[in-house]
Amino acid sequence: MTDQEILAGLAEIIDEVAGVPADEVTPDKNFVDDLDIDSLSMVEIAVAAQDKFGVEIPDEQLKDLKTVQDVVNFVSKNS
């Protein structure tokens, strides 16, 4: 899967979980500061990402994933 495909998939998830329009989900965006996504929504995003990409993001890793690019990198590296 290319980074672009992961980004598109992630944008869909974020729209569904947090109601953030997909076009706002760009690589440099910080979840908390830019997208107003809190820790519980991050858990939901992680769970949905597992379903979609087959990559488990444990809670301990999750707290280090601050930006959209961080998640794309994590999924890319672990898929």
């Binding site: 809190d38 820790s39 519980l40 858990v43 939901e44 992680a46 769970v47 809670d59």
Partner: protein, 315 residues
């Protein structure tokens, strides 16, 4: 085997209302944070001298009155609770005595926040097996006795209250009004919700519980529907344990149940553990949000971790 059904509900909440602003005076928190993370606007807290048995009695009396049965018609009383101040005597026998139910079988059941659904299932089985005619099932909790009021991750969530249901047989030939229970536990996650021995206060790993609740429970709910022969689309009400509005919404979304059919009693009741489901049912009945004769799905989940779900026919 004869069928069982729910005859009536009743709920009781203590008088004292504690708002988020009240809590912001005790711990570092605020109304917006609590509303957005757990969905609670206010909760009820029992008086210092008000016990689990007092609240159980109040809710039980209402359910009994609503059922139209006289106390002697009840021959089993089950109280789901995890929060009495002392383990002996049990709550059920005291409550039965106070309600004028003479010498019934009486026991407490601890499956924490899943307790009411466990008690409902065992009550239904007792009726069907013939070991009881009518059963008074109560969920009653004084969670605030077990809180560290300096722990802002728990003291904003838990609250007090009680709810009850009367379970009895269905007339011959009619289908059962309580579907097969789907229950289970995840003891490997036991340390995620505990009462610490040192300060006797509830401690919870909120993120881990949230992850578990939003992934493990909707399959349980779907299985309960399947075993009852009901499609989620047919449910007129969904009453999950009122743990956290975000968990409730996530499960409802996965089941495709529209929001107006989903109990949101947590907003003004807080998390009352085993009392939350019957309290929410009582409130929805009062508000005219329940349609008699139609299927409603209950699912309880919490410490253990333990969980249970069943479809009931709304009385």
């Amino acid at each position: 085997m004869p069928g069982s059904r729910v005859l009536a509900f009743g709920g009781y909440q203590p008088d004292k209302v504690v708002t988020n602003d009240d809590l912001a005076n005790i711990v570092e928190t605020n109304d917006e944070w609590i509303r957005s993370r757990v969905g609670i606007a206010s909760r009820r807290v029992a008086a210092e001298d008000e016990t689990v048995a007092d609240m159980a009695e109040a809710a039980g009396a209402k359910a009994l009155a609503a059922s139209g049965l006289e106390p002697p018609a009840i021959d089993l009383v089950i109280v789901a609770t995890c929060s009495p101040r002392v383990p002996l005597p049990n709550v059920a026998a005291t409550v039965a005595y106070r309600l004028g139910i003479v010498a019934p079988g009486a026991y407490d059941l601890n499956a924490a926040c899943a307790g009411f659904c466990y008690a409902m299932a065992t009550a239904s089985d007792a009726v069907r097996a013939g070991s009881a005619r009518n059963v008074l099932v109560i969920g009653a909790e004084k969670m605030t006795d077990w809180l560290d009021w300096t722990d802002r991750s728990t003291c904003i969530i838990f609250a007090d209250g009680a709810g009850a249901a009367v379970v009895g047989p269905v007339p011959d030939g009619e289908p059962s009004g309580i579907g097969p229970v789907v229950w289970g536990s995840a003891g490997d996650l036991a340390d995620k919700i505990t009462i610490r021995e040192d300060n006797r206060a509830i401690r919870q790993d909120g993120q881990a519980v949230f992850r578990w609740a939003t992934t493990a429970l909707h399959p349980v709910a779907l299985e309960a529907c399947a075993r009852a022969g009901v499609s989620p689309a047919d449910l007129t009400a969904f009453i999950p344990h009122q743990a956290n509005l975000r968990i409730i919404e996530a499960i409802a979304r996965k089941l495709g149940i529209p929001r107006e059919r989903v109990a949101d009693d947590i907003v003004h009741a807080g998390n009352t553990s085993s009392a939350s489901i019957p309290l929410a049912l009582s409130r929805m009945a009062e508000q005219g949000r329940l349609e008699p004769g139609t299927p409603a799905l209950l699912i309880g989940f919490g410490a253990g971790l333990s969980y249970a779900a069943q479809v009931i026919t709304v009385p």
